[in-house]
C-alpha cells in the first residue's frame, strides 16, 4: 500500500555531516505514526523535510502521490519541538494570523479561534497579550494554533516534552480524537514507551538511517526476541536442554530466549523440573531498538 505521505531515498547534509542517509518512509492515512530515536538521530530533520521547511539534498517527498506544495501544506498542522509564539501580540490576532496563512478566511478564523479558545478554557483570554499568559496557557494556545485550520495531517515534534500532566493528557486526548476522525498524526519522540502506547506504526531511526519501520505488532513479531519466563522448582540446570540463544538462570526462575513454542518447551522439561508458571513476554520497543542497533544505540542514548 502506498502511504499518504511518502519519503523516498532522502539524503540531507548539514555542515558536511550526514543528517539523513538514503531515508525512506511510508505513512498510511488515518494512523498515528511515531518517528522514534535518540536525540540527534534525524527525527526533526525528517519532519522538517516532510513539511518542506528544508529541502533535501537528494530524494523526494510526496503527499497523496503529489510533490509537496504550499497548497498541500495548508492541510497540515505543525507543532515544533521548540515552541514559541509572538509574545507582544494579542491571543486572537496571533491565532487569526496563523489560520489565515493556512488559507482560512478572516471571519471563519475568528469564529474558529473563539470556538477552540472556549474548548481549551481560554475564552476570557481572547484579548490578552500572549506574554500575559502562564506557560501552561501558552502551550494550550500553541495546540490551538496547530488545530485552528482543522488540518488533515498533524506533525508533532516531541509533543510531550515540557508539558505538565494536565496538558499532556489534553494533547493525548486531542490526538486520539483526531485519529478517530480519520486524520493522520505523525509525531517524533525519544521516549519509546510513549510511542508504544499511542502509535499504530513506527519508524526507528538511528544516525540518520532508518533501522526498521512498520506496524508495531509486525515489528514485535519479526524482531522481538522471543523471551520465555519460567518459574519452577527443582534442578534448573535441566533447562539448558532447551535450544536457546540466551539463558538467565536463578534459584526458582529462568528467563530464556528461544524460538520454540511453549508446548515444545514443556515437552523437553516436563519430567525434569516442576513448572509453576510459564509465559512468553512481548518485547518492548526499547528492547527491539537496542537489539537492532546494539551498543551503538546505547551510547547514543547515554550521550
Amino acid at each position: 500500500m502506498s502511504g499518504m505521505i511518502e519519503i523516498q531515498r532522502v539524503t540531507k547534509f548539514f555542515d558536511g555531516l550526514r543528517a539523513l542517509d538514503n531515508f525512506s518512509l511510508s505513512i498510511p492515512e488515518g494512523t498515528i505514526y511515531g518517528v522514534l530515536g535518540p536525540n540527534g538521530a534525524g527525527k526533526t530533520t525528517t519532519l522538517r523535510i516532510m513539511l518542506n521547511i528544508i529541502e533535501p539534498d537528494s530524494g523526494e517527498v510526496f503527499f497523496e502521490g503529489k510533490k509537496v506544495t504550499l497548497d498541500l501544506l495548508s492541510r497540515v498542522g505543525y507543532l515544533p519541538e521548540e515552541r514559541g509564539i509572538y509574545q507582544k501580540e494579542r491571543v486572537i490576532d496571533v491565532l487569526v494570523y496563523l489560520a489565515r496563512l493556512k488559507g482560512v478566511r478572516k471571519g471563519k478564523a475568528v469564529e474558529k479561534a473563539s470556538e477552540l479558545l472556549e474548548k481549551f478554557g481560554l475564552k476570557d483570554r481572547v484579548n490578552s497579550r500572549v506574554e500575559e499568559l502562564s506557560k501552561g496557557m501558552q502551550q494550550k494556545l500553541q495546540f490551538i494554533s496547530v488545530l485552528i485550520h482543522d488540518p488533515d495531517i498533524l506533525f508533532l515534534d516531541e509533543p510531550f516534552s515540557g508539558l505538565d500532566p494536565i496538558n499532556a493528557e489534553l494533547l493525548r486526548k486531542t490526538v486520539l480524537e483526531k485519529k478517530g476522525r480519520g486524520k493522520t498524526i505523525v509525531f517524533s519522540t525519544h521516549i519509546l514507551e510513549q510511542a508504544e502506547k499511542m502509535c499504530e506504526y513506527v519508524a526507528l531511526v538511528s544516525h540518520g538511517k532508518k533501522v526498521v519501520d512498520g506496524k508495531i505488532s509486525d515489528i514485535k513479531r519479526t524482531y522481538g526476541k522471543r523471551t520465555v519466563k519460567i518459574e519452577f522448582e527443582g534442578k534448573g540446570e535441566a533447562l539448558n536442554e532447551i535450544p536457546h540463544s540466551s539463558l538467565r538462570l536463578y534459584e526458582r526462575f529462568a528467563e530464556l530466549e528461544t524460538t520454540l513454542e511453549i508446548n515444545e518447551i514443556l515437552k523437553i522439561v516436563v519430567d525434569k523440573v516442576k513448572i509453576l508458571k510459564i509465559e512468553r513476554t512481548e518485547p518492548t520497543l526499547n528492547q527491539i531498538y537496542f537489539s537492532l542497533i546494539g551498543g551503538e544505540g546505547e551510547n547514543t542514548y547515554n550521550n
Partner: protein, 401 residues
C-alpha cells in the same frame, strides 16, 4: 496570496503599539528643535551682560559700546579689581575687564569671568577692544576711521536660486532647513525602521515561530511581507508628519519663509520615492543581520561597524552641500547607498534635471532588487540556523545555492 496577509500582520504589529504614537508625535518636535537650535542659541546670546570696567588709561571706556544685533551690555566703572571681586561673587556683574595703563601700546587686557564658557561675550569684548585700539591708532596717523570703514565695506551679494529658467525666492538658508528636514526624516526612517525589522526578525528566529511560518508560507513571502509591512508603517508615519507640516506651513512657520508650497511638495514626492526605494536597500542589511544572529546582543556587535558605514552618506551630504556640482557629489548621487541623500540634497540646494533624478532612482531600485534577492536567500537558510555564527563563505553558498 500570502504576502498581503503577512504585510497586514507586520504592519499592525508596528502601528498598534504605543511607542508608534509617541514617536509620531515627538519626532516633529525634535526636528523643529534641531532646526531651530541655532536660532535659540542666538537668542540666548542676547541676554544683557553687566561688565565691570577697570580702565587705567581712562580713555577706553568712553568708546566701549555695543551696536545693535550684538551682545547687549551695560557697563559699570570700577576703581580696582578688588571691588569687582565682591560684585562677581554676588552675581551683580558677569565679568571684570582690566585695562592697563599701556594698553594702547601693548594691546593686552585681562578679563575675569564667572563663566569662562560664555564665548559670545568673550568674542564681543575681544573684537570691541581691537576696534578701539585700531581707532586710536588711525587717529594718531591722521586717518578718519569712518572713512576707512567706508573704503573697506564689503560688497553685498544677493543670492537667489535659479531653477528651470525662473528665479526662485528660495534663499540659501531656507533650502538648507528644507534639506535638513528631509534628510533627517530619511535618516531616521531608514535606520529606525531598519532596526524595527531587525528586532522582528530576531524575535521570530529566537521564538522559533519561524518553523511554523515556514510550513505555511515560503521564506520569500515572509521576507517580503515583513519588508512591506514595516515599510508601509514608515510611510504612514511620514504621511502624518506631512499633514502636520502642511498645517504648520499654513499657520505661518517661520522656518521655511521663502519656500513655495509647490516646491515643497515636489521635494516631498521625491522624498517618498527615495524613502521607499532606499528603505528596501537599507532594510535588507538589517534583515540579513537579523537572520544571521541568535540574539539582539549579537546583532548589536555586528551592527556597530555597519551603522558607522550607513551613517556616512547622511553626514557626508552636509559636508558636500557646499559643492553640489562637484564630481564627488555627483558620484555620490548615483551611488546606491548615498543616492537618496545626495539626490535629495542636489534637488533641494541646486537644480537637477528630471533625467538625472530618474537615473538615480533606477540605480537605487535595481540595487534594491538585487539586495532583496540576495538577502531573502540568506534569510531562507539563516532563519533556521542556530548556534555557531555562519562564516562569510557559508553565507555566500546560501545565496548561490
Amino acid at each position: 496570496m500570502k504576502i498581503p496577509i503577512i504585510t497586514e500582520f507586520e504592519l499592525k504589529r508596528v502601528v498598534k503599539k504605543k511607542w508608534f504614537l509617541i514617536s509620531t508625535i515627538l519626532t516633529p518636535f525634535l526636528i523643529i528643535f534641531y532646526a531651530a537650535f541655532p536660532v535659540m542659541l542666538g537668542k540666548a546670546a542676547q541676554k544683557k551682560r553687566v561688565i565691570g570696567f577697570v580702565d587705567r588709561t581712562g580713555r577706553v571706556i568712553a568708546h566701549f559700546s555695543s551696536k545693535k544685533n550684538a551682545v547687549k551690555i551695560s557697563l559699570r566703572t570700577l576703581k580696582s579689581l578688588k571691588g569687582g571681586e565682591a560684585l562677581l561673587d554676588a552675581k551683580k556683574i558677569d565679568c571684570v575687564i582690566v585695562i592697563d595703563k599701556n594698553f594702547l601700546k601693548n594691546k593686552k587686557a585681562t578679563l575675569y569671568m564667572r563663566n569662562v564658557a560664555d564665548i559670545a561675550l568673550i568674542t564681543f569684548i575681544r573684537s570691541t577692544l581691537t576696534q578701539i585700539t585700531e581707532r586710536f591708532e588711525l587717529e594718531n596717523m591722521g586717518i578718519d576711521p569712518n572713512k576707512l570703514k567706508e573704503i573697506l565695506r564689503e560688497v553685498k551679494l544677493k543670492t537667489l536660486k535659479f531653477e528651470k529658467g525662473k528665479i526662485s525666492k528660495e534663499t540659501m538658508q531656507s533650502v538648507f532647513v528644507l534639506y535638513m528636514i528631509f534628510s533627517m526624516l530619511l535618516f531616521m526612517g531608514l535606520i529606525g525602521y531598519g532596526q524595527i525589522l531587525l528586532r522582528r526578525v530576531i524575535e521570530d528566529k529566537r521564538s522559533r515561530i519561524v518553523e511554523v511560518l515556514y510550513s505555511s508560507a515560503t521564506p520569500y513571502q515572509l521576507f517580503m511581507g515583513k519588508l512591506l509591512g514595516v515599510g508601509i508603517a514608515g510611510i504612514i508615519q511620514i504621511a502624518i508628519w506631512l499633514f502636520l507640516a502642511v498645517i504648520g506651513y499654513f499657520y505661518g512657520s517661520s522656518l521655511l519663509p521663502n519656500i513655495a508650497i509647490n516646491s515643497f511638495f515636489s521635494k516631498f514626492v521625491l522624498f517618498l520615492i527615495f524613502f521607499f526605494s532606499g528603505f528596501f536597500l537599507y532594510s535588507t542589511i538589517f534583515l540579513t543581520v537579523g537572520s544571521l544572529v541568535d540574539t539582539e546582543e549579537d546583532a548589536q556587535h555586528l551592527m556597530g561597524p555597519i551603522m558607522m558605514v550607513i551613517t556616512l552618506p547622511f553626514a557626508l551630504s552636509f559636508i558636500l552641500m557646499q559643492v553640489p556640482e562637484s564630481w564627488v557629489t555627483i558620484f555620490f548621487s548615483y551611488f546606491p547607498y548615498s543616492a537618496p541623500y545626495f539626490m535629495m540634497m542636489r534637488a533641494t540646494i541646486s537644480s537637477v534635471s528630471i533625467v538625472e533624478i530618474i537615473l538615480s532612482v533606477i540605480v537605487v531600485i535595481l540595487t534594491s532588487m538585487g539586495s532583496v534577492w540576495a538577502s531573502s536567500r540568506i534569510f531562507r537558510v539563516g532563519m533556521l540556523h542556530t548556534g555557531k555564527r555562519p562564516t562569510i563563505s557559508e553565507v555566500i553558498r546560501w545565496i548561490s545555492k
